[in-house]
């Protein structure tokens, strides 16, 4: 074995390409970096392929990578594509790491070879609910989610958790792109007395909601919060100072935290491959790197002969003293045959007046989440 292909399929163009293109860059750069560092005894053939957010393309890429090029691990992307591909992944036994942190991807059936690199959206949201419960007993919470499987995913777990935490979910609303005016939505939530608004969405719709909340003078009255894909640089760029005080749950370190080794590595690799400053700053760039890093580490640990089985072995042995910690996330990446979430630890961060996110909690896991959604 001389070369092994490390392949990613995701949206570089089409919907969500704002996240996808940075993610692709992260995968590709880390892979090339691994080659330059001779991390493995073999040379990696780094392939990122645009599937245009189209599931048929994703499946085709999977067939080509797994069927023809015998890749030992598949790096995927979108919620829909990953849900659709679960059966084949199970059949081919090729470990797969999505960029979507949809909990349904690792729920049974056909979940043995699906691994989320970081905590799921559901866990993000439940952690936010815990934070709310700690601040205010019996608080009223509203959920605003993207009108897609991606957005609807955490609703069930959120309801369960809220019930146990003594919180009241006043409303669940679907809001997608082009929400140029959210007056009605916000006024209604205000009328319901919802004080905490939790978002599961992409940054664009959230930014519009925040701007309208600011205009309507609701920013002080309502606490806006959101899961991984709502926050970060993207939100700052779109919402500006309307993002102030937004609380965000994510497992990743921030670009500003330059003292973290993982972030230093991101900067170094980004510079090495001549990426734009904007790309390097993006949390999706870091996410892409994490996925690639996990895959490469699993190859390394799986033994001399790199196969799907060896990677699976390498992945599922990442626990206890053998946990993997590339430094991109606030906790180590752990997997086992039962545990299919990598870096479960997450932090809540809050945006300051300039829209920069600062941690307001230490790394932690959501205890409630383990109760409402036990491992299956």
């Amino acid at each position: 074995q001389r070369t092994v292909t490390l392949a990613w399929s995701g949206a570089i163009t089409g919907p969500t390409s704002d996240a996808g293109s940075s993610y692709a860059a992260g995968v590709e750069d880390y892979c090339r970096y691994a080659n330059s560092q001779k991390m493995l005894s073999v040379t990696l053939n780094c392939v990122v392929r645009d599937d245009q957010y189209n599931n048929a393309n994703t499946q085709r890429n999977f067939e080509e990578f797994v069927g023809n090029q015998n890749v030992p691990v598949f790096l995927g992307y979108a919620t829909g594509g990953m849900l659709q591909i679960k059966g084949v992944v199970q059949e081919t036994k090729v470990p797969t790491l999505p960029a979507s942190y949809h909990i349904g991807i690792i729920d049974p059936p056909n979940n043995n070879y699906m691994f989320l690199p970081v905590s799921s959206y559901s866990e993000n949201i439940v952690a936010l609910l815990e934070w709310v419960a700690a601040r205010e007993r019996g608080a009223k919470v509203a959920l605003i989610v993207n009108p897609s499987p991606f957005g609807r995913d955490p609703v069930v777990d959120a309801r369960k958790a809220a019930a146990r935490l003594g919180l009241k979910i006043t409303d669940v609303q679907e809001v997608g792109g082009n929400n140029l005016d959210n007056t009605a939505l916000l006024k209604r939530l205000e009328a319901q007395g919802a004080k905490y608004i939790i978002n599961q969405n992409t940054a664009g719709p959230v930014a519009n909601i925040l701007k309208d909340a600011k205009r309507l003078g609701l920013l002080g009255k309502m606490q806006f919060m959101g899961a991984h894909y709502t926050g970060g640089e993207d939100l700052t760029k779109l919402a500006g100072d309307a993002a102030k005080d937004f609380v965000w749950a994510t497992s990743y370190y921030m670009y500003d935290e330059g003292d973290r080794p993982g972030i230093q590595l991101v900067k170094k690799i980004g510079a090495q491959f001549g990426r734009k400053a904007d790309t390097i700053r993006s949390v999706h760039y870091t996410s892409g790197m994490l996925a690639a890093a996990i895959a490469i580490e699993a190859m390394k640990r799986g033994g001399k002969d790199i196969t799907a089985a060896s990677v699976y072995k390498g992945l599922t042995s990442m626990n206890g003293g053998r946990a993997f910690n590339p430094g991109f996330t606030v906790g180590p990446v752990t997997f086992s045959a039962k545990d299919h979430v990598g870096a479960e630890n997450l932090r809540l961060l809050q945006a300051d007046a300039t829209g920069n996110f600062k941690a307001i909690t230490g790394p932690q896991r959501s205890k409630m989440f383990q109760l409402v959604h036990p491992l299956k």
């Binding site: 919907p15 669940v172 140029l180 005016d181 009605a184 309507l216 760029k237």
Partner: protein, 298 residues
């Protein structure tokens, strides 16, 4: 506090932004009977040109103005290169050309640094100051600017189409190209002008939308779809219809969000409600509220 007046105000405001976005669409249809599926992409182009200029240190207003001029040229170019050849082809072909163009323009924007990513204007001080409170609804200055721009452009074009010789000629061309040629009208020039004017108003809409919701390719281009219920409701070829349709859709959306969302699990009714209204309107008044009724005599 009563919700209804607030919903109405907000609906009218957002509706006039829709109207502004729809205006270019109407201009093209009015003179050439072409439904332009690339309108959203032209809006995005205008917005990104303005943004790119401000990034290079240009004053916001100047950047907006230049963007409008550049897209004016772009409109001319699109007409000259792509649509002129399509004169006389079946309408579905022409529509499909605009669908193709929407893809081409998106591809081209992807070739710039703005294809993937989120950006936003730094609004000039005039626009970022305290807004205005109308009947308990707080309106931002950006929104007010949008409403003013929409009303000014719509008023101007209404006058143009009804009173000026060129405006009448543009309508004549839509009616019967051959007959228009027989009295010396240069049909090509009329089409070019319509596309250019449409692109110009699209740029204006793009800048305002960009100010309101930030700049992402998908978001800006997606407005192209929102425009459909507006123009169908108002009538595809009516400038007045665009503004009335825009406001009605804005209001209907807000009423849906205000009153229906609570009744439907998951809500999000504002996404479909305009389209349901659209179908209802089509069935009752197949040519919209102000559209020209097709004259059919056998």
């Amino acid at each position: 506090m009563n919700l209804l007046p607030q919903l109405l105000i907000a609906g009218v405001v957002i509706g006039s932004i829709y109207a502004l976005a729809a205006l270019g669409f109407v201009l093209i249809y009015k003179s050439s009977r072409v439904i332009n599926f690339a309108h959203g992409q032209i809006i995005a182009t205008g917005a990104f040109i303005a943004f790119a200029l401000t990034q290079r240190g240009l004053n916001f207003w100047l950047a907006g103005l230049i963007a409008m001029l550049v897209t004016f040229g772009l409109g001319l170019l699109i007409e000259r290169v792509f649509l002129r050849r399509m004169v006389g082809e079946p309408i579905i072909s022409v529509i499909m050309v605009t669908i193709g163009l929407s893809s081409v323009i998106e591809g081209l924007i992807h070739l710039t640094p703005y294809g993937a990513g989120n950006f936003s204007f730094t609004a000039p001080a005039v626009l970022s100051g305290e807004g205005l409170s109308v009947l308990g609804t707080q309106l931002s200055r950006t929104q007010l600017a949008g409403v003013l721009a929409a009303l000014a452009l719509l008023g101007g074009f209404t006058y143009f189409f009804n009173k000026s010789t060129l405006g009448i000629t543009m309508r004549a061309v839509a009616d019967d190209q051959m007959a228009a040629m027989s009295v010396g009208t240069s049909v090509e020039r009329v089409f070019a002008l319509a596309w250019a004017a449409a692109a110009l108003t699209a740029a204006a809409a793009g800048v305002i939308l960009g100010l309101m919701s930030g700049l992402t390719l998908g978001g800006l281009a997606g407005i192209g779809l929102k425009v459909f219920p507006v123009v169908i409701l108002g009538g595809l070829d009516s400038v007045i219809g665009a503004i009335v349709g825009g406001m009605l859709i804005g209001v209907l959306e807000n009423l849906a969000a205000g009153y229906l969302d609570g009744l439907v699990p998951g809500g999000g009714t504002r996404e479909v409600f305009p389209f349901i209204v659209l179908i209802a309107v089509l069935l009752l008044r197949p040519y919209g509220l102000f559209g020209t009724k097709e004259i059919e005599r056998v």
